[in-house]
């Protein structure tokens, strides 16, 4: 058996184009992998420790039998690094090895911004670890390891993030980890505006649940309308009808406002993008902070970018990425 010295894998970030929150209630969502990736490099150790170092987060430490020893980032580091350790353990269990590894994480994906940073890191680690140990896991296996590792630490996620980071492209996603690929051949040029206000997905999901329980006769038809947006959006995506996509993004954003997950800084970025000539703009992900996205005609990209920055957001242009989790050469 030939063992590699060091293996690097990467996995993409994502944005939810349509259907966040409503997906919890059974409606479909459209999710898009983007060309921002997390990278994990893994190599064997001579002991049985799992050492993880996240350069960007400036946290690192050792997982051993007796617990965690922080190198940087204090005890907070353990919580953040734990899903990575769990993923490595799950890979080791599958190959029935009891070895130690060093894991180096590099990522340009903003954290706690709804872009799926955490799942991308875990998927890249699972892919690199298994490859290092000479075991080719299927995408379904990588997905399962990522999903389970995230679930242990973060509760019960929808499964959107592990799915899209594993498979890449554009997916029509439904609750219960059911998804189909949407065939989008041309690029979808988006500008992301990050409010840089961190938020908790779980907290926002429970705010919406409270609203739905208090006002079911109001919120249920809103959720239904959210589902119909996705239906129209798939059609618009397949026909590259960006005008329609923009209109649908605007309506979807307003429905997210209706269920209480937008904020003043998000609104500022959304309206700035629209006024600068975007086809449409909406918050993406859980809301309560995090990011918005704008779909812009190529001619207006610079104006939309600048408008988002001027309105207080951190802007960056992204493209659709068809590559899910993969080994880097």
């Amino acid at each position: 058996m030939h063992l590699l010295n060091e293996v690097t894998a990467s996995a993409p970030a994502k944005i939810i184009l349509f259907g966040e929150h409503f997906v919890v209630y059974g409606e479909p969502a459209v999710v898009l992998a983007i060309d921002k990736r997390a990278y994990a490099s893994v190599k064997m150790r001579s002991d049985s420790k799992i050492y993880i170092n996240s350069a960007d987060l400036e946290i690192s430490g050792y997982f051993e039998k007796n617990g965690f020893i922080a190198e940087r980032g204090g005890q907070n580091a353990e919580l953040k690094l734990k899903p990575i350790k769990v993923a490595v353990q799950k890979v080791l269990e599958r190959v029935r090895k009891s070895v130690g590894v060093n894991v180096e994480i590099r990522s340009s994906i903003p954290v706690a911004a709804g872009l799926g940073s955490s799942a991308a890191v875990v998927a890249a680690v699972a892919k690199a670890s298994s490859h290092l140990l000479n075991m080719e896991l299927s995408k379904e296996n990588i997905f399962n390891i990522t999903f389970e590792s995230e679930r242990l630490v973060h509760g019960t996620p929808s499964g959107i993030d592990p799915t899209i980071t594993t498979y890449g492209g554009v997916l029509l996603f439904r609750k219960g980890k059911v998804f189909t690929r949407i065939d989008v051949k041309k690029d979808i040029p988006l500008i992301i505006g990050n409010t840089e206000a961190e938020r908790s997905t779980g907290g926002l999901v429970s705010i919406v649940r409270q609203m739905q329980e208090k006002y079911p006769s109001i919120i249920n038809p809103i959720i239904k309308a959210g589902g119909k947006i996705v239906f129209n959006a798939v059609n618009a995506l397949e026909n590259y009808d960006f005008t329609k996509l923009g209109e649908l993004m605007n309506i979807n954003h307003a429905l997210l406002c209706a269920i209480g997950v937008s904020t003043a800084p998000l609104e500022k970025l959304v309206y700035a993008a629209r006024e600068a000539g975007a086809y449409g703009a909406k918050l993406t992900g859980a809301g309560g902070g995090g990011c918005m996205i704008a779909l812009s005609p190529p001619k207006r990209t610079k104006q939309v970018y600048e408008a988002i920055e001027k309105a207080g957001g951190k802007a960056f242009a992204v493209k659709k990425s068809d590559e899910g989790v993969k080994i880097e050469d």
Copy 2:
């Protein structure tokens, strides 16, 4: 027959608390008369001319058999003064008199802001004119004269403005001029924020119609949710549940965003009011400019007022008014 020298009447402005736009599609709306009024003073002339002077708008002129002669405001004055002239003519027709009158208008209601300024002026003129000519018209008659005078000039209004300015109070209004009174004994303290951007109700109604025709499967459930908001709001009004009213205002506002009638300046005022501690805030009327309203706890009124002003709005506090059109002593 005793003829009075001069008669003054007044009629209130209004705000739509819930249901604007959706009322066009058969859902109910909640409308509230407020303590800002238009005043009309009418006296007999020795000739058959109808002279109208609006001090606030700085327009005035004479309607005669052969047409209109502007005194101030040029030919634009004719369009603005015409509903008033029509109302006077309709009163004269009823008393079968062919006399001339002088009409003086004073009003503190912002124009073209969705507060029903035009209908309040016309109702006050109809009331004052009929009283001057010793004829007591019923409220239904005043409503009909106001509705018809507005309709001739402005196309096909919903009838909300003539109804609420005639009857005052809080009304549950349905398309087809059907309304019932909602019994609200305590005050409803609101702060209005005027963006001072004038807009056309007709234009906005047709924007929404286009949306509804393009995306019926999305917009129809949104309209339905709008109706359910009103159902919940009537209950909250009767129980003085201001927390609930505020939440419902926020949801209603978002649904108005979904149908495309909000603007960046309106959003700015709405979020400023909410962040300053309002129970809730929403645009009121047709949108596209005009006004927003905030429901505020008494303790936070000053903060909400100041936040709206700081966000670029012209703020003023209003109260519910139970008095519709009436003669002033």
